[in-house]
């Protein structure tokens, strides 16, 4: 798949659009690999297998986050808590070439052998926008009912919530820099919403 993906034109819902904002920009990040992982958090074998597959892929050291609303973020990939038995593995765009083989749906799925898990490639189900601005929090607050200050008071937090009508997964490096993951078909709507929100801060 890694090779194939080079051979043909691909695109993201927003075609990596960007606009300048005060102190940063709003942009769509390049495509990455995203896997939905379901399994039993209470099962040590499952956690071990997950750790192994990541180590093998070269994204070792990322623990599966067991606390709600947290993310294990590494330089090459991150694992988000999505539910009590659900996680999302997302690679960084620049690690995509190396990781898309060892972390492909089938490669990961085989790591769990007979366990009751689901590994589903959702790379294209979502896209990720990056919001960088000194007003990022204000921009988000225009459409987000979540108390971002409290939820993101600590490092390593993430949250699923809504921006307007779009269901999103948020994580952030700093109060100014946020990543917003959203379903492909809502990307255009979300873009318009953020652009509009940014226009009045």
């Amino acid at each position: 798949m890694a090779e194939l993906h080079k051979a043909v034109p691909t695109f993201t819902p927003l075609r990596q659009k960007k606009i300048a904002l005060a102190g940063g920009e709003l942009r769509e990040l390049p495509q990455t690999l995203k896997l939905s992982l379901r399994g039993d958090a209470a099962d040590q074998a499952f956690l071990q297998a997950a750790a192994d597959v990541l180590t093998k892929a070269g994204a070792g050291g990322l623990p599966i986050p067991l606390a709600a609303n947290t993310v294990s973020a590494g330089s090459r990939a991150s694992i988000f808590w999505m539910g009590p038995d659900e996680w999302l593995l997302r690679t960084e765009a620049d690690a995509l070439d190396e990781l898309s083989g060892p972390l492909s749906e089938s490669a990961v799925a085989t790591a769990f052998e007979e366990q009751h898990v689901a590994v589903v490639d959702v790379s294209d189900y979502y896209t990720v926008l990056e919001l960088g601005s000194k007003h990022s929090m204000d921009i988000l607050a225009r459409s987000c009912p979540l108390d971002l200050e409290s939820c993101f008071a600590k490092q390593g937090c993430c949250a699923q919530t809504r921006l307007g009508n779009a269901a999103v997964l948020l994580d952030s490096d700093s109060p100014d820099l946020w990543r917003i993951q959203v379903r492909w078909s809502y990307a255009q709507y979300l873009w318009q919403l953020l652009e509009r929100s940014a226009s009045s801060v």
């Binding site: 691909t10 189900y125 607050a141 225009r142 078909s185 509009r196």
Partner: protein, 1033 residues
């Protein structure tokens, strides 16, 4: 007459040198009713009009009586104007809250041709025949005339005019979270914000006025040795400098909703000159706040007195007069009478006197009470005559007060006596006491109790710790709105409520108010007496019995409700407050009775011979003051009203002229007209080309769910009506889902990708519903089942390749064998298509040879374009949803939601074959055997062929069992789908018909609304290729 009053600098005879809230050196020009005037910076429209001597500003709702400015705040019932023009016009705007800006244009409303000469005022002449509720008693004859009467009634009502153009301004919502929200920035709110802010927690302070300070802007209090205004400004500056505090002016807290959800409307550009309004990115912001605690320091609202002709222009609330003098530097009149039943109005008398007016006080209370009042003494010493034990018996002057008649009150206060005395004046400043602004507390379902000293409702003091409402909507009342009117006490109350709200306990060891007030010392202005010595006299007698002469006692100025109306309501049995309100419409105007409600209750209590608390209040509902729809909708209008979802192939569709159809949130290509084809031509062509050669459909919007786990097959077996345990990997199966009522609610093809791994498809509109349905059963009913579902709708872009040349086309771009043996109908392969990994499902919704190609969405456009290109040699046709509908109907395939409607079982669809009754159970199964659901004469889905092949029945047309001359005619079913089929070369239709399945071959008649009848035959709903041979290519 008015223009001469103002010169270019905005100075007028009534303009004073200095006010706390205005800069008298900066002129601002505006027009009112076409006349230009000058005001000054900081004015409201109301203060500028008063400064210009304009007293008549509106006509009342019902009698069209002349009305003037009555208040200086949000409680204004009278001075409603049509603000602005064209697209920015805005009806019913309170002049008392409109900040003046250069170029402001306002008009009076509810009057024709002008506010001075208003034809509607004839109502006033016949007013004795128009008491409360008169329309319930008349306009009934003849019955047919009501619609005509109604037209005139409607025209007379309604106040201002709606804009007729699209609003050019934008709005937005903003979410906010805080530990303490302080509502109101008077002394109490400022103190609360200060003490709470010290905790470092997040504090929001909101006030609806342009400047913070509340009563300090006009009441002359001294705090910490400084004028109150200065103290307030300093507090605001200090609060603004704190990183944990948000200070928001021009922001009305409108709604106190459950779980401490509070909404507020901030006016951002309304006060700016037009050119700046046009440039402002947004006009108003709607705050949606979650606060852990709320301190409500919203102050209090003065009440009027109910005396004869108390609605004449020039009658004003006493504190409003004071506000105009001290804050806006406007003397409302050269000669004034202050009319009161409590001490708080004496400060008004003193301030007016000092500002140069001739003032007389008329106090309803006896001389003994008045003589004992320090405030009264001060005022008397300043040379103001005080007429104690007296009342205003009437007013001379219609469009403007010329004088008042004063008489002595009798001992029982029910009548007047003695020589009437006429006092010349242009303004009557009234005070009937004060009502704490309990609106937000009441919205939060807090309880009220009646305070006899104040003769007003205040928030109930004793709330038990287990009071659910208090636990859910925690808030503290502070200052005047807590019934506290002394300035020092207000500060102390605010300070301690701030601490309490922030969770930092007040210094309980010391109970001196100074310590609790954080050491803030304060004193009220001279003569600022308290309103607590209120005389509970509600209706001031006049020269005739209430309602029996020409003089009216208004309590609700906006809706023109008088004391006589309350008497009438009581007499007729509308005695409950809620009946009183609805029968007389008291309190139902744009001011929601802020000045009138309590006095109305008081009058009703008197009539019923009970106390005011027994009468009770009506329900306080949001918003506190009206809020624009624009603000509530926020940014979610226009393109953001509702998301438009599109697929990966969207750019191609747009570039190739697709006409789109809305399917749920999705925009789907409806048809692709070529040249100047209309819809019909395009669809006919698309349908032919698909069956003759090959066509492509973007099917990406279908819902897709990835299902994995050991129990998946068993799960599917419960979800679908047919059998799923034996579906082999690589095989596809069609299924119907029923709800527990036994009715079809979705359908689709599910494929076994690998052991314990399935790919389910759903209808486009049903995707979310089905996903929810599966999760609900798994999570709540069958948690032990080992099944995981993952929505993958957008992961896969789907192209359906349909038609006899589908195989040939596809073989050009894929590496897998496509022949019937190796890749038969209803099977699946993973493959490479156009160089990308794909899942190909050989399933068909057209009855033709068909492959549905799923690729990761990023490749969707590439694969689509590759297929279009590869199809060139076969004259490939790209088709839309309409052709899809025709093509499936030609084969008799159903569309859930079109051929079914939530009342249709699989049996009704003639799909017995899909119900596996040997299964022990599946969702909805038991419902199928209920007596009514299993009865034979249900409506069943059949095909319909019109006798005239050219005639296409309208969808929704009904079939009748007998054609009668005119309705009623019993129907026996209706057309669910109907098209002209180019492949069958005739019209085809499907219908739900009573006992239809057993009536094939029978004639039926469709009765159309225009009277035509169409004769047709019931047939099997398969109109081409009955044997299904096309499937194999």
């Amino acid at each position: 007459m008015n223009q001469h009053l103002s010169d270019k600098s905005g100075k007028t005879e009534l303009r004073l040198a200095k006010g706390n809230g205005v800069d008298t050196g900066v002129a601002v020009s505006f027009t009112y009713d076409g006349v230009s005037y000058q005001g000054v910076k900081g004015d409201t429209l109301a203060s500028a009009l008063i400064a210009n001597g304009v007293r008549l500003v509106g006509r009342s709702f019902k009698y069209h009586r002349p009305r003037g400015i009555f208040t200086a705040g949000p409680e204004e019932p009278n001075a409603l104007v049509q603000l602005g023009e064209g697209a920015r016009t805005e009806p019913n705007t309170r002049a008392t809250q409109v900040e003046l800006f250069d170029g402001l244009v306002a008009h009076s409303q509810n009057c024709f041709p002008s506010v001075k000469y208003d034809i509607g005022a004839v109502n006033s002449l016949v007013s004795r025949f128009l008491p409360a509720g008169f329309y319930y008693k008349t306009f009934m004859w003849p019955a047919s005339m009501w619609m005509t009467y109604e037209k005139f009634i409607r025209r007379a009502a309604g106040l201002g005019k709606s804009p007729q153009q699209q609003d050019p301004d934008k709005y937005e919502q903003l979410h906010a979270h805080c530990e303490v929200l302080v509502v109101g920035a008077g002394p109490s709110g400022l103190a609360a914000a200060k003490s709470a802010a010290a905790s470092g927690k997040r504090i929001i302070l909101m006030d609806e006025q342009s400047e913070m300070g509340g009563s300090l802007l006009w009441n002359g209090a001294t705090i910490e040795g400084k004028p109150g205004v200065e103290w307030a400004r300093q507090q605001v500056a200090e609060l603004k400098a704190m990183p944990n505090v948000r200070v928001v002016a021009r922001c009305t807290v409108t709604s106190y909703l459950d779980h401490n959800f509070i909404a507020a409307a901030e006016r951002i550009s309304d006060h700016l000159p037009l050119s700046e309004q046009e440039r402002a990115p947004i006009r108003q912001r709607f705050w949606k706040i979650r606060a852990a605690q709320v301190v409500v320091a919203a102050g209090s609202i003065e009440r009027p007195l109910l005396f004869a002709d108390n609605d004449r222009p020039g009658v004003m609330l006493s504190a409003a007069v004071r506000t105009y003098i001290n804050r806006y530097a406007v003397l409302p009149a050269q000669e004034m009478v202050v009319f009161c039943n409590n001490d708080s109005a004496y400060a008004t008398a003193l301030d007016a006197k000092r500002a140069g007016a001739a003032v007389t006080v008329v106090d309803l209370r006896s001389s003994e009470v008045v003589n004992a009042s320090a405030a009264a003494t001060l005022v008397r010493d300043a040379g103001v005559e005080i007429l104690a034990g007296c009342a205003i018996a009437g007013i001379n002057g219609k469009q403007q007060i010329r004088s008042v008649i004063v008489q002595h009150l009798s001992g029982d206060k029910r009548s007047l006596s003695g020589e009437p005395r006429e006092i010349s004046c242009q303004v009557v400043a009234v005070s009937g006491g004060w009502n704490p602004t309990v609106h937000l507390h009441s919205q939060a379902r807090g309880k009220l109790e009646f305070n006899n000293d104040l003769q007003a409702f205040v928030a109930a003091g004793n709330v038990s710790a287990s009071d659910e409402i208090a636990l859910m909507n925690p808030h503290l009342m502070s200052g005047a709105c807590n019934g506290e009117f002394d300035i020092a006490a207000c500060l102390a109350d605010g300070w301690s409520k701030g601490l309490q709200a922030a969770g930092s306990s007040a210094d309980s060891s010391s109970d001196s108010s100074e310590a609790n007030a954080g050491g803030i010392t304060a004193s009220a202005a001279e003569a600022d007496g308290l309103c607590s010595k209120v005389a509970a006299l509600w209706t001031v007698p006049t020269t005739h019995e209430i309602g029996q002469g020409s003089r009216k006692h208004f309590h609700d100025l906006q809706n023109d409700v008088t004391v006589a109306d309350i008497h009438l309501a009581a007499r007729e049995g509308y005695q409950s407050v809620e009946h009183l309100k609805r029968y007389t419409t008291t309190g139902m105007g744009t001011d929601q009775g802020k000045t009138s409600n309590v006095v109305a209750l008081a009058v009703m209590a008197e009539l019923r011979g009970t106390g005011i608390p027994e009468v009770g209040t009506t329900t306080f509902r949001p918003p506190y003051t009206p809020v624009t729809f624009g603000a509530v909708a926020g940014q979610y209008t226009g393109e953001l009203f509702l998301q438009e979802r599109t697929t990966a192939m969207q750019p191609w569709h747009v570039a190739n002229g697709a006409v789109f159809e809305d399917v749920g949130d999705w925009k789907r290509p409806w048809y692709f007209p070529r040249g100047d084809e209309d819809m019909h031509a395009a669809v006919q062509r698309e349908c032919l080309m698909v069956r003759q050669s090959v066509g492509l459909l973007d099917a990406s919007t279908l819902g897709k769910i990835d299902i994995r786990g050991r129990d998946s097959a068993e799960f599917l077996n419960m979800i679908y009506t047919n059998a799923w345990l034996k579906l082999a990997p690589g095989k596809c199966r069609y299924g119907l889902m029923l709800n527990e009522h036994g009715m079809v609610f979705d359908d689709g093809v599910t494929t076994c990708i690998a052991p314990n791994h399935y790919h389910m498809t759903t209808t486009t509109g049903g995707a979310a519903r089905v996903m929810g349905w599966l999760e609900e059963w798994l999570q709540t009913e069958w948690p032990e089942k080992q099944v995981y579902c993952t929505s993958v709708t957008e992961q896969w872009a789907v192209t359906a390749v349909n038609g006899p040349n589908a195989r040939k086309l596809l073989s050009k771009v894929t590496d897998v064998p496509l022949d019937n043996e190796q890749f038969p109908h209803m099977s699946y392969m993973s493959a490479t298509v156009a160089g990308v990994p794909a899942r190909i499902f050989r399933i068909s919704f057209t009855g033709e040879l068909s492959y549905e190609i799923n690729v990761p969405a990023r490749y969707g456009l590439h694969v689509w374009e590759s297929l279009v290109e590869a199809g060139d040699e076969y004259d490939v046709c790209v088709y839309g949803t309409e052709a899809m509908h025709v093509l499936r109907a030609e084969k008799g395939f159903i569309i859930v939601g079109q051929d079914t409607d939530g009342t249709v079982t699989p049996y009704d669809l003639g799909m017995d074959w899909i119900v596996n009754n040997t299964k022990a159970d599946f969702l909805g199964k038991r419902s199928l055997s209920r007596s009514d659901t299993s009865k034979p004469d249900r409506r069943q889905l059949v095909g319909i062929l019109t006798d005239e092949p050219e005639t296409v029945l309208p969808e929704g047309a009904h079939l009748v069992s007998a054609v009668l001359e005119k309705p009623p005619m019993p129907t026996e079913g209706h057309i669910t789908s109907s098209y002209f089929s180019p492949n069958a070369e005739r019209s085809i239709a499907m219908a739900l018909v009573t006992r239809g399945l057993s009536r094939k071959g029978e004639k039926v008649t469709a009765q159309l609304m225009d009277g035509r009848t169409v004769s047709a035959t019931i047939v099997d709903p398969v109109f081409i290729d009955a044997k299904g041979e096309h499937l194999n290519g």
